[in-house]
């Protein structure tokens, strides 16, 4: 298999059902009584058949058209993952309108920016929380004509004339269906796969997000290429927990689910996700690296609390699992399953997994190995919103932790501006990529080269086996002042495998050596502190304890041992708060925003490199509920190489 993918000509001709509502109509006609969606409501899983699903989309689409939604309009969607969301999205598409999903935890300014930038006329908001957000924006969103809410609780008291309850809109739709029974079919027939259908926010590690315009036909064709390397069918169960505005959830919960008739399940509340997941037993799952890391950390934390016998069984099981992974022997696998893994998979809701993926950012190899040893068929995906989501994946049985696999059929990947080691910018093209950025010609021209190649902004190279290796964002690749190139993200991922580390930021660009800002993982470090009888009050207090510094020092030294000497972390300090997307330090998909951190913690960073052993901090933290707390603390810089430097006269030189 060549890596730079086959030419595009032998792709199948465009399917007849080239929009999502057409696919839905096809499924409802062919399999009306099969379960399409499930939602847990009032403690019971309630199923929607394809016929129900179709009927709901029909009434809502007719309702939307009754209030004036036409071809080319933009409909905003805001809320949790619920059937109502996908129904509304399909209804918007049936009207020929574009859908724009807005992240439910987006801040007011972000919501206002997106709504105004995309000329959203109607917003479908789930409940009081989301309606409040929109009403709070007042006249900052003048273009919004209607706000449609599904859950009337708490909203009834508002008198804003723009508000309509979704059930009322659906009743309007029912009336139209009675008067003009053929109306909906006409609408759906008029939709075209070539039209823009979905606006997807790009993660925007800098400034305001851009909106990638995707057409339904392209999305469907791209989902089909994906399904060829990771087939799914009507027997498959999927639990929709990724944010629906994200391209990959659009691919799974809408595209693939409608093409392959995979059942999509919606959990009751975010707090019940793990329990609900276990009840469903999904056969496919995609989680962000952070969530995989969190699950691995939780397992470890629980084991720390368990009895010595259980700890022994866990360690034995993990060793057996790793041995089985190395040897590939069936017997070893069975033994590991018997001792630990089957029970652990069941506990996590992974018993029926046939396929699992991680994507969005890199996942540390150790976490990867842990889940592989657990018997979870975890694979890495790689892609961008602009390129309709993932376009490379590990082929089954060829999982190399360091790579992101090979491209789907019809996807071409090349490396531009490669250096001596073959490392350069990853540039991709395929026939089903986005149409351009919404109302941003300039940005489209900057990212898309003349012949349709899209610059991804990621640095990478092709490995010996022809699989793509992604290192980091091109502009995040850093060089020390001594000329040593390194990838901060690579080292950060290594650090984050420690259960005690929640987040780490590696510094060192144009500095003589590497240093790290580390956030402790509060849930686990606090447990550790309790066990060691270390009294503490808050996060900041815990992070300032000398014992905690010693603990983290050991963790970082372990990581250092696995790194080449010039890439080792020489100094670190423990931050007094966790990095947070609300403070702009992380993106909504939880990637570190380096520019923000460099600016916000500039004096800390200066102090580290100036060689100050202690740095006073006096700052205000704003919590989500709006309360502010003053934090006054002294951060201690831990120098990992001082002793070694004195003895060995390390080439790093004394700073400051």
């Amino acid at each position: 298999m060549s890596t730079a993918a086959t030419p595009l000509r032998d792709l199948a001709p465009a399917p007849v059902a080239d929009t999502l509502p057409k696919l839905l109509a096809r499924n409802a006609a062919a399999h009306p009584h099969d379960v399409a969606l499930r939602e847990k409501d009032l403690g019971i899983w309630r199923a929607y058949t394809w016929a129900d699903y179709h009927a709901q989309v029909k009434r809502r689409a007719l309702g939307l058209s009754a209030i004036g939604i036409e071809r080319g309009d933009v409909v905003g969607l805001l809320g949790d993952n619920r059937p109502s969301w996908v129904i509304s999205e399909l209804a918007a598409h049936a009207c020929g309108a574009l859908s724009l999903g807005i992240y439910r935890d987006a801040l007011d300014e972000e919501v206002a920016y997106l709504i105004n930038h995309a000329d959203v006329r109607i917003v479908l908001a789930e409940d009081e929380e989301q309606v409040d957000k929109l009403l709070r924006l007042g006249d900052r969103i003048p273009g919004v004509e209607r706000i449609i809410y599904s859950d009337p609780r708490g909203v009834r008291k508002y008198t804003d004339p723009r508000l309509i309850v979704a059930s009322a809109l659906d009743r309007v739709g029912d009336e139209i269906a009675l008067q003009r029974p053929e109306r909906y079919d006409e609408l759906v027939r008029a939709t075209s796969g070539d039209d823009a259908a979905i606006l997807c926010t790009t993660s925007g590690t800098s400034s305001n997000p851009k909106l990638a315009v995707l057409s339904a036909g392209r999305l469907i064709r791209h989902c089909e290429s994906y399904l060829r390397v990771d087939p799914k069918g009507p027997q498959d169960e999927y639990v929709s927990v990724l944010p629906l505005p994200w391209i990959m959830e659009q691919v799974y919960a809408l595209g693939q689910a409608l093409i392959a008739r995979m059942r999509v399940n919606f959990v009751e509340e975010s707090g019940t996700t793990m329990a609900d997941m276990r009840e469903i037993g999904p056969t496919f799952i995609l989680l962000a690296p952070r969530v995989w890391e969190q699950i691995a950390a939780d397992v470890r934390a629980r084991v720390m609390d368990a009895s010595p016998l259980k700890r022994f069984v866990f360690r034995l099981g993990v060793r057996l699992g790793e041995a089985a992974l190395k040897s590939g022997a069936k017997g070893a696998r069975a033994l590991a399953d018997l001792v630990l893994m089957r029970a652990l998979r069941d506990r996590l809701g992974f018993s029926r997994l046939r396929s699992a993926a991680t994507g969005g950012a890199a996942l540390g190899p150790d976490t990867f190995r842990f889940f592989q040893a657990l018997g979870v068929p975890l694979r890495q995906l790689y892609g961008q919103t602009e390129l309709a989501g993932a376009y490379t994946i590990h082929r089954p049985g060829e999982v190399d932790f360091d790579t992101v696999g090979t491209p789907f059929d019809g996807v071409e990947v090349r490396i531009d501006d490669a250096d001596a080691n073959g490392v350069g910018e990853i540039v991709t093209r395929h026939p089903n990529m986005f149409l351009g950025y919404y109302k941003n010609e300039a940005a489209t021209r900057t990212s898309v080269l003349a012949d349709g190649w899209m610059k991804t902004g990621d640095a990478g190279y092709f490995g010996a086996s022809g699989e793509l290796v992604v290192i980091d964002r091109v502009h995040d690749l850093a060089t020390t002042s001594l000329g040593q190139r390194f990838s901060p993200q690579y080292i950060e991922n290594k650090l984050k495998f420690s259960p005690y580390v929640a987040e780490a930021v590696i510094l060192g660009d144009e500095r003589p050596y590497l240093a790290a800002l580390v956030c402790i993982r509060f849930s686990i470090v606090s447990k550790w502190a309790e066990r060691h009888r270390i009294p503490f009050t808050t996060y900041a207090d815990l992070a300032a304890k000398p014992q905690v510094h010693d603990l983290l020092r050991q963790e970082i030294e372990t990581v250092n041992a696995s790194l080449p000497e010039p890439q080792r972390v020489c100094k670190f300090l423990l931050l007094y708060k966790e990095l947070d997307a609300d403070d702009g330090e992380l993106t909504r998909t939880r990637k570190v925003r380096r520019a923000v951190i460099n600016e916000k913690y500039a004096d800390l960073i200066e102090a580290i490199y100036a060689g100050q052993p202690e740095i006073g901090v006096d700052t205000m933290i704003t919590f989500q509920d709006g309360t502010r707390q003053r934090v006054r603390t002294r951060l201690k810089t831990v120098d990992l190489v001082q002793a070694a430097r004195a003895a060995l006269r390390s080439p790093l030189g004394a700073p400051g």
Binding site: L42, G43, G154, E269, T272, D625
Partner: protein, 280 residues
């Protein structure tokens, strides 16, 4: 629902209720009247007789003199369990959950007085309607679980939950009774800000959307003044003021009662309140 407020006869009336424990006068001639649909708060320093007043309403204490009227009927001598049946639900200042039972079972206990089946009919589950009845009650309980966002702890053992959550479960149990009048004894004591805000939202929604009449004792002045339609202030078992939150804040006697606390009557717990109340 606001149309209910202030219309018709009061739902609850205390007329000249006094309560004595030997020589201690817990309540002296307290008179109050709560119309249907009201959100009524009773405030006052520690030992002012707030909980005693609530206990006279729920029937835990029998007043030494005076009458308690509920829904047009004299209930002064009605036993507490019968008051539950006629529509008075309550929560307690110190939690009174069944710690070893699940959240679901605790809330189901609130439905007990509505159950028709007994221990004879219950075991022949499918023939006596017990099955249908259980389903109906479970559905009601699930609605309450949804209302109070308790889904994630539905099957957790009540005793293992955090304090704030247990308070919420207790409220759920009181609502399960489907009372006309809900008595809340310090529903927000010992909660953090977020829990308080949630609890305040639930109480307001119960009152506004479900039309439940609420009588509440609460220390957090900001909460009381923000939520209540009317406030009664007790001091040493006597009513010293009654009216809308704004009227009560303006009352000189109230300020004195609270300021007095600050001057050393040993009511240190109320000092925070004293400053807040004196400020306007």
């Amino acid at each position: 629902m606001s149309p209910l407020y202030g219309t018709g006869t009061p739902l609850l009336e205390l007329s000249r209720v006094s309560l004595r424990f030997g020589g201690v006068k817990a309540l002296t001639e307290v008179t109050l009247s709560v119309p249907a649909g009201d959100l009524f708060s009773i405030i006052g320093p520690n030992g002012a007789g707030k909980t005693s007043a609530l206990n006279c309403i729920s029937g835990r204490y029998a007043p030494t003199s005076g009458r308690v009227m509920f829904d047009g009927r004299d209930i002064t001598d009605v036993a507490p369990y019968r008051r539950a049946a006629i529509g008075i639900g309550r929560t307690f200042q110190n939690l009174a959950l069944f710690g070893h039972m699940t959240v679901l079972d605790n809330i189901l206990v609130g439905r007990h007085h509505l159950l028709r089946n007994n221990f004879v009919a219950g075991p022949i589950y499918w023939f006596t309607g017990a099955c249908r009845e259980e389903l109906a009650h479970r559905a009601k309980v699930e609605e309450i679980i949804d209302f109070l966002d308790l889904q994630h702890v539905r099957k957790a053992i009540a005793g293992t939950l955090s304090y704030g959550l247990r308070k919420r479960v207790e409220l759920a149990r009181a609502i399960a009774l489907e009372p006309k009048l809900l008595l809340l004894d310090e529903p927000m004591a010992g909660m953090n800000l977020e829990e308080k805000e949630d609890m305040a939202r639930y109480i307001v929604e119960l009152n506004e959307e479900r039309g439940m009449t609420v009588v509440m004792i609460e220390h957090d002045m900001a909460v009381v003044m923000d939520m209540s339609k009317r406030v009664l202030v007790l001091d040493f078992g006597r009513t010293i003021a009654e009216g809308s939150p704004a009227e009560v804040l303006d009352d000189a006697q109230v300020a004195r009662a609270y300021l007095g606390a600050a001057e050393g009557f040993g009511r240190n717990a109320e000092m925070g309140v004293a400053t807040e109340i004196a400020a306007p």
